[in-house]
Subunit: 157 residues, 2 copies
DNA sequence: ATCGATGCAAAGCGTTTGCAGGGGT
DNA sequence: ACCCCTGCAAACGCTTTGCATCGAT
């Protein structure tokens, strides 16, 4: 799940192209997120980078995650419950998620993102959307259900 | 978008079956939500029901929405941005959503929910999930993009 | 009489913001 | 010299919770 991980040069370029600066904090936050299993919260990333950057603040982590999200290096996963913390994903490749309705854990699914999904799914819908002025740039697919107990060995969110 | 709207008897039954009580507040919140265009926030539902139930509190609206969600009469839509308010959907039929990345508005898409979507999309994935102990009970598909300006006539969220 | 639901107020939590100081270009 | 970024603290917005009261069984 950490394939396509960006190196510092690529990340700096991406930030620069968006008018944002490459800083040690942003690089560290990205590295940390990419190195962590599952989909940590901002707080978890904060605690994990602290050993390396003892003076970093939680606000900076939030701002870094925002910048990284803005340049597409990081993906933001909606909280499953209102009030729950947002989870972040250092996405190399796009993929689907499975959300366990019992534990809230989010699992990556080894699936390719399909740019033509809407066409395949419902060609009439795709036409209808175009004619109604909707320009579709992507989608989010999340499978919901339950992971059977006794096999929690996977990477939890 | 208000097809399959539940009547009070059906709703009372559903609540009762879950060990929850049918109350005027819950019925009113449901009716109000089902009558509103788009996907209002808890606050918007609160303001809309107030004329009918002047003494209702925002907390009760939240609790009612939670109860209605628990019995499947209402669907909760994740906030697009962290910190943004959750939006609610009195779902009769399941459908997809289109989320405008510029305005955050959520539009209903006139599409049938396809219980066999995963099979159609990727049979190998479906097998893989089963073998790994994931029991899929549903999914959430959200199209992302931009609605071209000048045609905001639809029901906004 | 019991037990969940209501309504009010207050707390809680994740996130954002204001602002002074700092550092790279 | 400029401007963005950092870090701290305080503020913010949405949601939940504590608790006394209410109402239906």
């Amino acid at each position: 799940m950490t394939s396509n991980r960006l190196d510092h040069d690529a990340l700096s370029d991406a930030l620069g192209a968006a008018g944002l600066r490459s800083t040690p904090q942003r690089l560290a936050v990205y590295d940390q997120l990419a190195a962590m299993d599952g989909h940590p919260t901002a707080e978890q990333v904060f605690r994990a980078v602290r050993p390396r950057l003892p003076r970093i603040s939680l606000a900076t982590v939030y701002k870094a995650l925002e910048a990284l999200t803005a340049v597409g290096a990081v993906d933001r996963l909606n909280p499953e419950a209102a009030g729950g913390p947002t989870r972040y994903d250092a996405r190399g490749d796009r993929h689907y998620h499975f959300r366990c309705l019992r534990t809230g854990a989010i699992h990556d699914l080894p699936t390719q993102y399909d740019p033509a999904l809407i066409e395949r799914l419902d060609p009439a819908l795709a036409d209808d959307l175009r004619s109604r002025g909707f320009q579709v740039t992507g989608y989010r697919l999340e499978l919901l259900g339950y992971r059977l107990p006794g096999r929690e060995g996977g990477r939890e969110a």
